[in-house]
C-alpha cells in the first residue's frame, strides 16, 4: 500500500519533494529468507537491521522521481541506522519516508532519505540514507571524519552475480549493479555491489546488541567479482577501501 501525505515539512526552498510517503505491511517470510541468506544473516524471527531499508526502497524511488533533477549521477554515500530493538517477523510495520536536504558537500549537494519504522505507535527503527547529487561542490564543506581501518579479520569472495541477485531481492535494478556492459555504459569498469548489501554483509558478521546506532560511509565501489577484506574492532568495522563503519550501542 502506497499513500502520500502532503506534508507538514517545510521544503526550505530546496525543490526537494516535501511528501511523506507511507507503507503498511507485514513481512513475507519467504522474501525475508532470500534476503537473509544473500546477506549472510541467520533466518530468524528478528529482522536484520538493514531489512527495513529494502522494504522502504519503493518509497525512496517514488520520492526520487519527484525530485527536480535527474536520478542519474545520484550516489549513495552513507547510511545510518538507529534501532531501538529488533523488529519481529509478524509485527505490523508502518513505514514512512521523506527527503531532507540539501546539505553542502565538496563534490555537490547531499540529501537524506529519512525512513522510520513503527510498530503501532512505537518508533523502533530509523534509517538515514545520504545521497550525493554531483555538481556545484562547496570546498568549504566538512570532510568525512578521520577513520582508522581495523585489522583484517575475514576475507570475502564477492560473486559475479551478486548484483543481479541482490537486485531481485531488493528491487534496486540500477544497471550499474547488473552487468559489466551496463555498468560500463555508466562509467564503471565492471558491475558494482550494492552499498546496502555491503552494509548488510558487515552487520551479519558482527555480534549486534538489540539497540544500537550504526553508521557507514561508502568509499570505492566493490567491483564484481572481487575478494575484499573485512575488519572489525571494538566500535568500528570496515571493508577495506570500500566501507567505513561505526557501531554505537544505545
Amino acid at each position: 500500500m502506497l499513500t502520500t501525505l502532503r506534508a507538514a515539512l517545510p521544503g526550505r526552498g530546496s525543490g526537494l519533494p516535501s511528501d511523506v510517503l507511507t507503507r503498511e505491511l507485514t513481512v513475507d517470510a519467504d522474501h525475508l529468507a532470500d534476503y537473509a541468506h544473500l546477506c549472510g544473516f541467520t533466518l530468524r524471527d528478528e529482522l536484520p537491521p538493514t531489512y527495513p531499508h529494502v522494504l522502504a526502497f519503493p518509497l525512496h524511488m517514488t520520492l526520487l522521481a519527484r525530485a527536480p533533477f535527474s536520478a542519474v549521477g545520484v550516489v549513495h554515500i552513507a547510511n545510518r541506522i538507529v534501532q531501538q530493538r529488533p523488529l519481529l517477523l509478524g509485527e505490523p510495520l508502518s513505514l514512512t519516508a521523506r527527503v531532507e536536504g540539501f546539505e553542502p558537500h565538496r563534490r555537490g549537494r547531499t540529501f537524506d532519505f529519512v525512513t522510520e519504522a513503527r510498530v503501532r505507535d512505537e518508533l523502533v527503527w530509523q534509517g538515514f540514507s545520504t545521497n550525493l547529487k554531483r555538481g556545484g561542490g562547496d570546498e568549504s564543506a566538512p570532510k568525512p571524519p578521520a577513520f582508522e581501518e581495523p585489522p583484517v579479520t575475514a576475507q570475502w569472495r564477492v560473486a559475479d552475480d551478486l548484483g543481479r541477485r541482490y537486485a531481485s531481492v531488493s528491487g534496486d535494478h540500477n544497471p550499474i549493479h547488473l552487468h559489466a556492459l551496463s555498468a560500463k555504459a555508466l562509467g564503471f569498469p565492471r558491475a558494482i555491489a550494492h552499498g546496502m548489501w555491503t552494509k548488510a554483509r558487515c552487520l551479519a558478521s558482527l555480534r549486534l546488541p538489540d539497540a544500537f546506532a550504526v553508521e557507514v560511509r561508502f568509499k570505492q565501489p566493490i567491483l564484481l567479482p572481487s575478494k575484499v577484506s573485512f575488519g572489525e574492532a571494538e566500535d568500528r568495522f570496515a571493508v577495506h577501501g570500500h566501507l567505513e563503519g561505526e557501531l554505537t550501542p544505545i
Binding site: A29, A33, A36, H37, L43, R44, D45, R207
Partner: protein, 423 residues
C-alpha cells in the same frame, strides 16, 4: 569411579513444520541457531560460555561440516562455547543428550546443551556421482592433454543430481516398506495403528490447550504450534485413508506414519551444583541409556526393532521393570513400529528366544504412553525428535513431582536407543 547426577534443566524447540511448509527456506543452521537462542533467552545465557553444545542433523549439506559450531557462532551464546556434531540417524537427538549427560556425570563439564535439527525441505542434493568422479579426476589431472581427456568423459545425463532417499542402503527398501514387513510379522492391525495415531493428535492438542508447551517452545517464522497437529483427528477419519506401504492390503497410511518434517530442538543439561548456583530448576535427572542394533540385512530382523533389544539390557542393568515406570515415551516413527515393539515386549517367545529372558517385559499401559502426544502428531524432523521427547518427558515428570520415565527411539540402519529419566 564417582559420577554426578545429571540435571535436565529445560528445553526449547521451534514448532515442527511439514516439509515444504513454513520452514521451506530455512536451513538446518537457521533453525538450530533460532532454537539455541530461544533456550539462551529462557535461561538467561546470553553471552555466557556453556561448556559444550552437541547437536546433529541426519540430512546434512557438505557445507555444514561443523553445523553445531557454526550455529553457536551465530547464536547469542559466547563464541568461546565449544561444539561438535554427532549423528546416529533418528537416534541422533537422544545420543546428543547422552553425550552431554555422560560428560557432566564424569565431571568433565558442568553444563551443556544437546540438540538436533533436520530439514526435509532444504535437503542436500549432491552432484551426480559420475560427474563428481569426472570433476575430481579433472582436479587431479596435471597436464593439459590429460585434462582434455578427462573432459571428454562429460555426458548430458550427468546433470541429473543425486537426491537423498529415505531408503536403506543395503536393502533398497524404504523405512515404510520395512515397517510394513514388521507390521505383517507381528500381526499389527490397521485399527490399532489408527487408534494410536488419533490418540497422539488428541493428546498433543490437549497438551497445547493446557499450556504444557509454553516454556518448551519458541514460535518461528509464523508457526506457533506443530503444523502437522490435527486436534480433531479420529479413528473414523483415519480409517478413510488409503494404504501407502505394504501393498493394497497394507495397513500403513499417511495418517499413521510420520510425515517428512522440518524443525529443531535443544535441551539444557547441567550438574546439580551449576543449576543450584543459578537458581534454575531441575526438571528431572538423566539416569542411564542403552543402544542396540539388529541385523535387518541377513537375519530377517525388523529394521526398527532394535529398541526391543536395548530396553531389557538397560532395565536389567538398573534392576528395573516396566512396573517401575510412570511414563513411557516411544518415538512414533510409524504407529506400526510402536505396536510391533509393544508386542515384542509382551511376547514370551520373543523374550525367551531373542532376548534370553525367562519372562517378557510386559504390557505398557495406554494411559502412560506418550501422554503429551508423539511424533505422529508433532511431526518428526529426524535429529530433533530426541530433544523434543527428553524435554517434554522431563517436564511431565516434574509436573508429577516424582517418578520414572523411559524413552525408546528407533533409528535407520537397524538401530535403537533407549534412556531413563527420573525425578
Amino acid at each position: 569411579m564417582n559420577t554426578r547426577r545429571v540435571a535436565i534443566v529445560g528445553g526449547n524447540r521451534i514448532p515442527f513444520a511439514r516439509a515444504n511448509g513454513p520452514y521451506a527456506h530455512a536451513s538446518d543452521q537457521d533453525m538450530l541457531t533460532a532454537t539455541l537462542d530461544g533456550l539462551v533467552e529462557r535461561f538467561g545465557l546470553e553471552g555466557e560460555r556453556v561448556d559444550e553444545v552437541v547437536a546433529g542433523a541426519v540430512l546434512k549439506h557438505a557445507r555444514d561440516r561443523d553445523l553445531t559450531r557454526e550455529a553457536v557462532l551465530g547464536s547469542k551464546l559466547a563464541p568461546e562455547t565449544a561444539a561438535y556434531d554427532i549423528q546416529q540417524a533418528c537416534g541422533t537427538g537422544l545420543e546428543t543428550v547422552i553425550a552431554v549427560a555422560n560428560k557432566i556425570a564424569l565431571g568433565q563439564i558442568d553444563v551443556g546443551i544437546a540438540g538436533g535439527v533436520d530439514t526435509a525441505s532444504d535437503a542436500p542434493i549432491a552432484v551426480n556421482e559420475d560427474l563428481r568422479q569426472v570433476l575430481l579426476d579433472l582436479n587431479r589431472a596435471k597436464s593439459l592433454p590429460s585434462r582434455a581427456r578427462t573432459l571428454t568423459r562429460l555426458r548430458p545425463g550427468q546433470v541429473v543430481p543425486e537426491i537423498p532417499r529415505n531408503s536403506e542402503p543395503r536393502t533398497g527398501l524404504s523405512m515404510g516398506e520395512h515397517t510394513a514387513v514388521m507390521a505383517r510379522d507381528w500381526g499389527v492391525t490397521r485399527e490399532e495403528q489408527d487408534e494410536l495415531a488419533a490418540a497422539s493428535h488428541q493428546k498433543l492438542a490437549a497438551a497445547y490447550d493446557r499450556g504444557f508447551f509454553g516454556d518448551l517452545l519458541t514460535p518461528y517464522l509464523g508457526l506457533e504450534r506443530d503444523q502437522n497437529l490435527r486436534p480433531d483427528s479420529s479413528v473414523e477419519k483415519l480409517a478413510k485413508l488409503k494404504p501407502v506401504f505394504g501393498g493394497e492390503d497394507g495397513t500403513m497410511t499417511a495418517g499413521n506414519s510420520t510425515p517428512l518434517s522440518d524443525g529443531a530442538s535443544a535441551v539444557l543439561l547441567a550438574s546439580e551444583a551449576w543449576a543450584a548456583a543459578r537458581g534454575l530448576p531441575v526438571l528431572a535427572y538423566f539416569v542411564d541409556a542403552q543402544t542396540a542394533a539388529v541385523d535387518h540385512v541377513h537375519k530377517g530382523e525388523g529394521l526398527l526393532m532394535a529398541p526391543a533389544y536395548a530396553m531389557p539390557r538397560m532395565l536389567g542393568r538398573n534392576d528395573l521393570a516396566f512396573d517401575d515406570f510412570d511414563l513411557f515415551e516411544i518415538h512414533e516413527a510409524f504407529a506400526a513400529q510402536v505396536a510391533a515393539t509393544r508386542r515384542a515386549w509382551r511376547d514370551p517367545v520373543f523374550a525367551r528366544e531373542r532376548l534370553g529372558l525367562d519372562a517378557p517385559l510386559g504390557e505398557i499401559p495406554d494411559d502412560r504412553l506418550n501422554v503429551n502426544g508423539g511424533s505422529l502428531a508433532a511431526g518428526h524432523p529426524f535429529a530433533a525428535t530426541g530433544g523434543r521427547i527428553v524435554a517434554a518427558l522431563a517436564k511431565a515428570l516434574n509436573e508429577k513431582g516424582s517418578g520414572r520415565g523411559v524413552i525408546s527411539i528407533c533409528a535407520a540402519g537397524g538401530q535403537g536407543v533407549v534412556a531413563i529419566l527420573e525425578k
